[in-house]
């Protein structure tokens, strides 16, 4: 009896399921230590290190995926973390985006003469935060994941030391981000007050067992949570920061923001709203539909009046957030699958597009007007061709991956009988197409401008080529990705 009292039971930890998370965060911290022990680490060492760590983490996903298939989703660490196929799917996207961002950053940092270690460390830690979000089984863990991801990303936005725009972007991102985090946390507190738990499984069980007559507290919690997450995914009306931050932040980092941060935030949104609050879907679906409609319209109309290509793509990322929200709003398995497919496809589109922008930004990372793109088709036909493919896919042209993505969410929405978002989305696609065509037209049909020569380094070449190739391959043979996403529906399990 006495001996039993003395041992404090520690929570069970499934280390094998945490391998990718531990590799990324441990690899990041080790890199930081190494760089402080030895000044002037050659640039290729840190780049190789990050790519090696990420590759190892990506390979470790396969055995974990198989083990989860056999044993079913697992929860551990006192039910705080749950690993299922959806968390692994998002982890995979995040790792690929980290690799792409690293490849882009290598030459970018050299060109801009910026220190490289901190960017890689912050990137790895941000990815670790994203993985925590995608495998959170409790609202507090989810909040911690969001903060790890966001705090690292705020600093990444400020990374260009010599551009005041970069710091201005970081300040705006930080103030509004912290503001949104406070809303998110207040939402968590209210939901805790209403249901008596912060654990997703317990909340889900409680909500399906009890019918509330006075559910004001719970609904206020939903609203606050939605506002907080809406900020992270850049949905209208919480989008005001997006164009400024995308314009000011270093271009490779913007690729991470558009692809990585969005993927992690949507994973959280699906886990919390569709999987946990599913029995209250009648209450939150109209709010999500409103956000989705506002985002697809606001994003595509906002993009039309921009002159800066980075801002155009910022607004286009808002439109994509709207499409993704349509998939979430369906609140069905098909909607969830479509959202996951969209996230994977959009990750490649965003990374590829911002790779082109990063290359064309020239030294100083400030040549982003349409002027820079004039006559690119004759000056750099391959680069212009790849960018055209990526832009056409973002517009949703058939035989590109973007079509599969958009078709998926709209079909899911129609199946769930929410006609309005589906119809508005189709109209918005037409408006958004104008913007992408405008960039393409200026690349091919304008006289070449007298800009200096563009040199495309190896890292950017790989990223642009792979993302453009995947865009077409997934567009023609989508079944592989769709099958993978079909298996990736979040499943919450209690301990």
């Amino acid at each position: 009896m006495f001996a039993e009292l003395q041992t404090i039971p520690g929570p069970q930890v499934l280390w094998w399921a945490l391998t990718p998370l531990l590799l990324l965060s441990g690899g990041g911290l080790l890199l930081l230590t190494l760089s402080s022990l030895r000044a002037n680490l050659p640039r290729w060492v840190s780049t190789t290190w990050v790519i090696g760590i990420s590759t190892a983490a990506f390979i470790s996903l396969f055995p974990i995926w198989n083990r989860i298939s056999e044993e079913g989703p697992r929860t551990f660490l006192a039910d705080a973390v749950g690993i299922d196929h959806s968390s692994l799917f998002i982890t995979g996207i995040l790792i690929l985006v980290v690799v792409a961002t690293t490849l882009l950053s290598h030459s970018y940092l050299q060109r801009e003469d910026l220190p490289e270690i901190e960017l890689y460390v912050l990137l790895l830690l941000a990815a670790a935060g994203g993985i925590v979000m995608a495998s959170a089984n409790g609202l507090i863990v989810l909040f911690l994941g969001i903060e790890i991801l966001s705090l690292a990303t705020y600093v990444l936005a400020a990374y260009h030391l010599r551009r005041i725009e970069s710091q201005e972007a970081a300040l705006k991102y930080f103030i509004l981000g912290a503001f949104a985090s406070a809303f998110l946390l207040y939402g968590i507190a209210l939901i805790y007050g209403a249901t008596g738990s912060t654990n997703l499984v317990e909340i889900n069980a409680w909500l399906s067992k009890n019918i509330l007559f006075e559910d004001g507290l719970l609904l206020a919690g939903f609203a606050m949570l939605l506002a907080g997450l809406g900020f992270k995914v850049a949905a209208v009306p919480f989008h005001a920061w997006t164009p400024d931050v995308y314009q000011g932040a270093p271009s490779p980092v913007v690729g991470w923001m558009a692809a990585g941060v969005k993927a992690a935030s949507f994973a959280a949104l699906l886990r919390v709203f569709v999987s946990t609050f599913g029995s209250y879907s009648a209450d939150w679906r109209p709010a999500l539909a409103a956000l989705a409609i506002a985002s697809v319209l606001g994003g595509s109309i906002g993009a039309v009046v921009q002159k800066d290509v980075k801002r155009m793509l910022a607004y286009s990322s808002i439109t994509h957030a709207g499409f993704l929200l349509i998939g979430v709003e369906a609140a069905t398995e098909r909607g969830t699958t479509a959202t996951f497919t969209y996230l994977a496809i959009y990750a490649f589109l965003a990374v590829g597009s911002f790779a082109v922008i990063s290359v064309l930004g020239h030294e100083g990372d400030n040549k982003h007007t349409l002027e820079t793109y004039k006559g690119l088709g004759t000056r750099k036909p391959v680069l212009a061709g790849a960018f055209t493919v990526l832009l056409l896919a973002q517009a949703g042209v058939p035989f590109t991956s973007g079509f599969i993505a958009k078709f998926g969410v709209i079909a899911a929405s129609v199946e769930a009988r929410s006609w309005t978002p589906a119809i508005v989305a189709m109209l918005a696609t037409a408006i958004a197409a104008f913007v992408y065509l405008r960039i393409i037209v200026s690349m091919y049909l304008s006289e070449p401008s007298q800009e200096g020569s563009v040199s495309v380094d190896l890292g950017s070449r790989i990223v642009i080529a792979v993302s453009a190739a995947l865009t077409i391959v997934i567009g023609v043979f989508p079944s592989f990705l769709v099958d993978l996403a079909n298996n990736a529906i979040p499943i919450l399990v209690g301990g």
Binding site: E168, A178, F183
Partner: protein, 101 residues
């Protein structure tokens, strides 16, 4: 008159609203920052109030995490503000308008 949980919740809501309004109307980054901290502390109070009303430890536990996150946010936020203040000694948020469409 007995002080019930509701009192604490109302106080927290009032603090949170004060912080929100502050963020929306003030223009100095440092003051904005203090307003955000006020909002986070209001949430902390909410957690404690609910925690003691519902019993159990998860409410109190959440407070620790919230405090750590708030501290980390202070570090990052001040670093960004200092980085900007070195170039622009007058830090009013309206002066930062290089980024626009």
């Amino acid at each position: 008159m007995e002080v019930t949980t509701t009192w604490y919740l109302v106080l927290a809501a009032a603090l949170f609203t004060t912080g929100t309004v502050g963020v929306l109307i003030r223009r100095n980054p440092l003051v904005l920052f203090m307003c955000v901290e006020l909002m986070l502390n209001a949430v902390t109070l909410t957690f404690v109030a609910f925690g003691s009303a519902l019993g159990g430890l998860s409410g109190q536990m959440a407070v620790f995490f919230a405090l750590v996150v708030a501290a980390a946010e202070v570090v990052i936020g001040l670093a960004i503000i200092v980085a900007i203040a070195r170039r622009h000694p007058t830090t009013a948020i309206d002066d930062f308008s290089t980024l626009r469409g």
